[in-house]
C-alpha cells in the first residue's frame, strides 16, 4: 500500500448515558476501538446496520465529535493537534455529503448561495470569481449552469443531492465523507448519483469515506470495506475478499440478505437484532445471532486478526467457517413453493474457493 492518506488508530467514542435525573451515568461505547487506513484516491466503505457506529466514526473524522481515545491522522498529521489556520485548512480538505438532501439544504437559500456559502465563509475567492466557480460546480455535477437562482424545493431528490455534492466540491477538498449519499433517493436516481461520484473521483483524484447500510452499494464503490457491528470492525479487507471470501459470520449474513434479494441465495438467516450498545453481550459481540457460535464465543472476545495479507477478521473460527456466496448457498426465505426462482443476475463469475492458510 502506498502512503496512507487517512490513518485511524484505536479510535473510541464513549458517551455517558444517565437514566433519570439522579441515575448513575453508565458508559455507552459507541465506538469501541477501531483502526483503519485509507489510501489516497480510493474509496473506503463502512458498512453496518443502524446503531453500528458508522455515523459516529464519520462525525469524529470531521471533528464534529471529539474522540474519547485514539488518533486520526490525515497525511501524517494528527487532527487532535490542529489549531487556527491549520484547522480551517483541514475543514476545507475534508467535506461531507449527507444522507437527506431534503434537510441538508437550507430551504430559504437559493442553490447558488448554498454552493457559494463555504467559499464565502472561508474567503476563498472574490465575488465575481465565486459566481464563476458556482457555475462551474453546477456543470460539474450535471446541473444547468444557470440554475443558481432556483430554490431547493424546485428540485427533485437527485438534483438536490447533486447540489450537496457541488457544495462539498467547492473548496476543492481532497476527501469527501459520504454518509448514506443515495439511500434517500429513488432506485433509478441512485445509479446516476453513484456514477457521478465515481466520475468525480477519477477527475479530481478524491478520496472517499463511504458510509452505507447497503453492502451492494458499498461493494460497487469501494476498494476496501470495513464491516462494523456494535462499534467494532468484524472484518476489513479488499472488496473482493469481503464479497467473495468473507471470513466472518456477520459479513456472511449481510451478503446473504443482499443476495437472497437478488434472486441468489443465502446459507443461514441470522436471528435477532443488533443488541443495545448499553448492554453488549459478553464474548463476541455477534455471538447471540451467530449460527456458528459455541461456548468459546460467549466467553472470549475474538481479536481482529490478519488472516490473509490485508484481510482482517474478528472471529475465532475465521479459517473454518464455510464460505458464503451467491452461488453456493440455500435460500434465506424459502422460495421453493414458487414455480421458478426469480433471478436477475446477468453474469455470475465462477467463484474460486480460496484455501485459507
Amino acid at each position: 500500500m502506498s502512503q496512507s492518506f487517512l490513518k485511524v488508530e484505536g479510535l473510541r467514542k464513549t458517551y455517558d448515558v444517565r437514566r433519570g435525573l439522579f441515575g448513575r451515568a453508565r458508559p455507552l461505547h459507541a465506538i469501541a476501538g477501531v483502526s483503519f487506513e485509507v489510501e489516497a484516491g480510493t474509496t473506503f466503505g463502512l458498512v453496518g446496520e443502524s446503531g453500528s457506529g458508522k455515523t459516529t466514526i464519520a462525525k469524529m473524522l470531521m471533528l464534529a465529535e471529539r474522540p474519547s481515545a485514539g488518533s486520526i491522522q490525515l497525511n501524517g498529521q494528527d487532527l487532535a493537534g490542529l489549531r487556527g489556520k491549520e484547522l480551517d485548512k483541514f475543514h476545507l480538505e475534508l467535506q461531507p455529503v449527507l444522507q437527506d438532501p431534503f434537510s441538508s439544504l437550507n430551504p430559504r437559500m437559493r442553490i447558488g448561495n448554498i454552493i457559494d456559502e463555504p467559499l464565502r465563509i472561508h474567503n476563498l475567492l472574490s465575488g465575481a470569481e465565486r459566481d464563476k466557480r458556482v457555475r462551474e460546480l453546477l456543470e460539474l455535477v450535471g446541473l444547468p449552469a444557470d440554475g443558481g437562482r432556483r430554490f431547493p424545493h424546485e428540485l427533485s431528490g437527485g438534483q438536490r443531492q447533486r447540489v450537496s455534492i457541488a457544495r462539498a466540491l467547492g473548496p476543492n477538498p481532497k476527501c469527501m465523507i459520504l454518509d448514506e449519499p443515495v439511500s434517500a433517493l429513488d432506485v433509478s436516481i441512485q445509479a446516476q448519483i453513484l456514477n457521478l461520484l465515481k466520475d468525480l473521483q477519477g477527475q479530481l483524484d478524491l478520496t472517499y469515506i463511504l458510509i452505507s447500510h447497503d453492502l451492494a452499494v458499498v461493494a460497487y464503490m469501494s476498494k476496501r470495506i470495513g464491516v462494523l457491528y456494535l462499534g467494532e470492525f468484524m472484518e476489513i479487507g479488499e472488496t473482493e475478499d469481503i464479497v467473495r471470501n468473507s471470513r466472518h459470520p456477520y459479513t456472511q449474513a449481510l451478503i446473504a440478505s443482499v443476495e437472497s434479494r437478488s434472486g441468489g441465495a443465502s446459507a443461514t438467516m441470522v436471528s435477532g437484532e443488533i443488541p443495545s450498545p448499553m448492554n453488549p453481550p459478553p464474548g463476541c459481540p455477534f455471538n447471540p445471532r451467530c449460527p456458528h457460535a459455541v461456548d468459546r464465543c460467549r466467553s472470549e472476545k475474538p481479536k481482529l486478526r490478519e488472516i490473509e495479507p490485508g484481510h482482517w477478521a474478528a472471529c475465532h473460527f475465521s479459517e473454518s467457517i464455510p464460505n458464503v456466496t451467491a452461488n453456493t448457498a440455500a435460500p434465506a426465505v424459502d422460495t421453493s413453493a414458487k414455480t421458478a426462482q426469480p433471478h436477475i443476475a446477468l453474469v455470475q463469475k465462477p467463484v474460486p474457493v480460496q484455501e485459507t492458510p
Binding site: 453513484l194 434479494r261 426465505v333
Partner: protein, 344 residues
C-alpha cells in the same frame, strides 16, 4: 384459486399546488388467495395512492373518480365509510412503512393490540383481551409476549414494532394484507426475518398480499406477481419470475440494470437518464418517453395500448414490446437467464 381483490380502472385525482392531477390513472390489478402481488415503483409513481384508493383512505385532497374495487365480490368503492370501517382491520389489514408513526406512542402495546378484539369482536373482558393479545403477539414471534404487553412503542426496536403492527393486522385473519413499504426502514437482516414471518402467516391463512415497494429485488424474492408503476400507471405486469427473466418495458429493464449487485460486478451502473415527470406536467404520449432510448415518433404522440401475450397474464404498455420480445430493440440486451443452479 379465488380472486380476492380485483381493482378495475381505478382513477384517482389529487388537488395539489400545481392544480388537479391524476395520481392513479386507469389502474387495474388482481390478487388471488394465497398469492402476493408486488406493486413496484418510485416515489410519486402512484403505488401508495392505489392502495389508499382501494381502502377508501384517501387524503381530503384526493378523490376516487372512477373504477371498481371488487373485494370478495363486493365493490368497496361503493361502500359507505361506516361499512368500510368494518372491512378494514378485519377482512383487510394494512401495514405501513414505519410502525413508530403508525402506533400510538402514548398507549402500551397491549392497549393497541387489544383494541382490535374490542372493535371487531366486541370482546370487553380485559382478561380475555389480554389472553388473545398474547396469543397474537406470540404468533408474530415476539419473545416474552406477556411482559411486552405493558411496554410502550419506544421501548421496542424497529423490527419489533413492525411485528406488533403485523400482529394487529393479522389478528382477525384477514383475507387481504396490504404492505406499504413495510420493511423498507429496517436493516437487511431484520427485513429478511419479517419477510419469512409474512410468508408463514400467508401460508397459514391463505392470505392474499399486496406488497408495495420500490425495491425490485425484494419484490422478486417475496412475491408471485408484479405490477410496475410509472407516472400513475401500470406499465408492465405478469408473474414476477417471468418479468425478471424477460423484462420488456424499457423502464423495467432500466430499473433492473440500475441496481448494484454483489453477484454482478461492473465498473459502471447503467443509470436511467433524467427523472420521473411530475404529475402536473406529464408528457403527451408515453410517460417514460422522455427518458427512453428506444422511443419512436408514435411514443411521443400516443400513450401505448396494452400489448398482451402468452397465457400467464403478461402485458406491457409499450409500443415496442414486440420488438423487445423478438430481440430487435436496439441496445436492449435480451436476457435469457439461467436458474442459479445451472450457473454454478
Amino acid at each position: 384459486m379465488t380472486v380476492i381483490l380485483e381493482a378495475k380502472n381505478l382513477t384517482t385525482m389529487l388537488r395539489n399546488r400545481a392544480g388537479i392531477v391524476t395520481a392513479v390513472d386507469n389502474v387495474s390489478l388482481k390478487v388471488r388467495a394465497g398469492r402476493s402481488l408486488a406493486l413496484v415503483g418510485e416515489s410519486g409513481s402512484g403505488k401508495s395512492m392505489t392502495c389508499l384508493s382501494m381502502l377508501g383512505l384517501l387524503p381530503s385532497s384526493g378523490r376516487l373518480m372512477g373504477g371498481e374495487v371488487l373485494f370478495k365480490g363486493r365493490d368497496l368503492a361503493k361502500m359507505s365509510p361506516a361499512e368500510m370501517q368494518k372491512v378494514r382491520g378485519k377482512e383487510i389489514g394494512m401495514i405501513l412503512q414505519d410502525a413508530m408513526t403508525s402506533l400510538n406512542p402514548l398507549l402500551t402495546i397491549g392497549d393497541q393490540v387489544s383494541e382490535i378484539f374490542r372493535v371487531h369482536q366486541g370482546i370487553t373482558n380485559k382478561a380475555e383481551q389480554r389472553r388473545r393479545s398474547i396469543e397474537v403477539l406470540e404468533k408474530v414471534k415476539i419473545p416474552a409476549a406477556e411482559e411486552r404487553l405493558d411496554s410502550y412503542p419506544f421501548q421496542f426496536s424497529g423490527g419489533m414494532r413492525q411485528r406488533v403492527s403485523i400482529a394487529i393486522n393479522v389478528a382477525m385473519s384477514p383475507d387481504l394484507l396490504l404492505c406499504d413499504e413495510a420493511t423498507t426502514a429496517l436493516d437487511v437482516t431484520v427485513q429478511q426475518q419479517l419477510l419469512k414471518l409474512l410468508r408463514d402467516l400467508q401460508q397459514q391463512n391463505n392470505m392474499a398480499i399486496v406488497f408495495v415497494t420500490h425495491d425490485l429485488h425484494l419484490a422478486a424474492q417475496f412475491c408471485d406477481d408484479v405490477a410496475i408503476m410509472y407516472g400513475g400507471r401500470i406499465v408492465e405486469t405478469g408473474p414476477i419470475s417471468e418479468v425478471f427473466a424477460q423484462p420488456t418495458h424499457p423502464y423495467t429493464i432500466g430499473l433492473l440494470n440500475a441496481v448494484p449487485s454483489l453477484a454482478r460486478y461492473s465498473d459502471r451502473l447503467s443509470a436511467i437518464p433524467g427523472q420521473q415527470p411530475t404529475l402536473a406536467r406529464l408528457p403527451q404520449g408515453c410517460r417514460f418517453e422522455p427518458r427512453c432510448e428506444h422511443a419512436v415518433e408514435q411514443c411521443r404522440s400516443h400513450y401505448p395500448d396494452w400489448f398482451e401475450w402468452g397465457d400467464t397474464g403478461r402485458r406491457t404498455a409499450c409500443w415496442r414490446t414486440a420488438d423487445s420480445l423478438n430481440g430487435t430493440l436496439a441496445g436492449i440486451p435480451v436476457r435469457v437467464d439461467k436458474p442459479v443452479s445451472e450457473v454454478a
